[in-house]
Amino acid sequence: MSEHIVQPRIYVVIFLALMLGTGLTVFAAFHDFPGPLNAVVALTIAVIKATLVVLYFMHVRYSSRLIWLVIGSALFWLAIMFALTISDYWKRTWLPPL
């Protein structure tokens, strides 16, 4: 069987990293960072946590390129939805109303 078996100690390490990230994001939330940095910090930590779950708990690190492609396509379509919608709202005052 070509399936890769991830060792429990790796799961423990990832679990501890996720708990650390949770503590960190709560701690950082109470500090006032300049400008939009609070959101940047929170989302960065969230993306790192999600990446750890995807790569190790969901075994994607040991999965085929086809799986990587499917996940990549999800992010791609999500990016299209966000980019086009936000650009619309962002520029609504660009042209004067008819």
């Binding site: 709560v26 190790y56 708990f57 969901m58």
Partner: protein, 250 residues
Amino acid sequence: MSEGLTTTHEEAEAHSALQHHFENMEQQREAGTLGMWVFLVTEIMFFGALFLAYTIYRYQYPAAFASASNHLDIRLGAINTAVLIVSSFTMAMAVYGTQVGKQRSTVICLILTMILGATFLGIKAIEYHDKYRDNLIPGQLIPGHPFNPEVAKPGDTDEHKLHLVEGATVRNVELFYWIYFAMTGLHALHMIIGLGIMIVLTIMTWRGRFGPEYHAPVEISGLYWHFVDIIWIFLFPLLYLLGRHLEGHV
């Protein structure tokens, strides 16, 4: 022997769970995993649209969103985050158990995962009840209990009252709560479905259906469970933490 597209698996090692349209167990497992990932892509788009709505309105009404977010119970939210992360760990250990043929360990890990999932839902129920008590359920979702929170006057430190940041309006706070209930409600529905799947898996494992040669359903259900965890990993900071750096005025 075989004709056309049908393969009869007459070799002695053909596993009882091998479906006729697959060459071998490995191919079947990969196809199942691919299928679950494609479904998760649709789920990412499903939740993604709600995250998009959150993004738009948060940037249009930052003060209202900060005020509403600060009114959520950060301790319950953080505990729920920890609960789900532990449940993802126990789920991963359940998959490991089937991979190495440890049936009892798998059953225990699946039961722990379910207990943690139920704990998450219990805490969510407490939070929802708190919102109901403070008249924060938006619109007329509860007939007879419209959105009607008590706004705190300056200097009032009552936690049950809504403390509005400069520039926030009650109407836009209600918008936050629409998004809060839509997103956490949809997430909770996914948790409930996940619990149902776990119950089925636990029974199947206990009956000895899974082992190192065949455990794809456990692994695939694990993917679903981890996905629900990931959604919460994003929901928690966006819903509960966004305005905390503005706190300190109560």
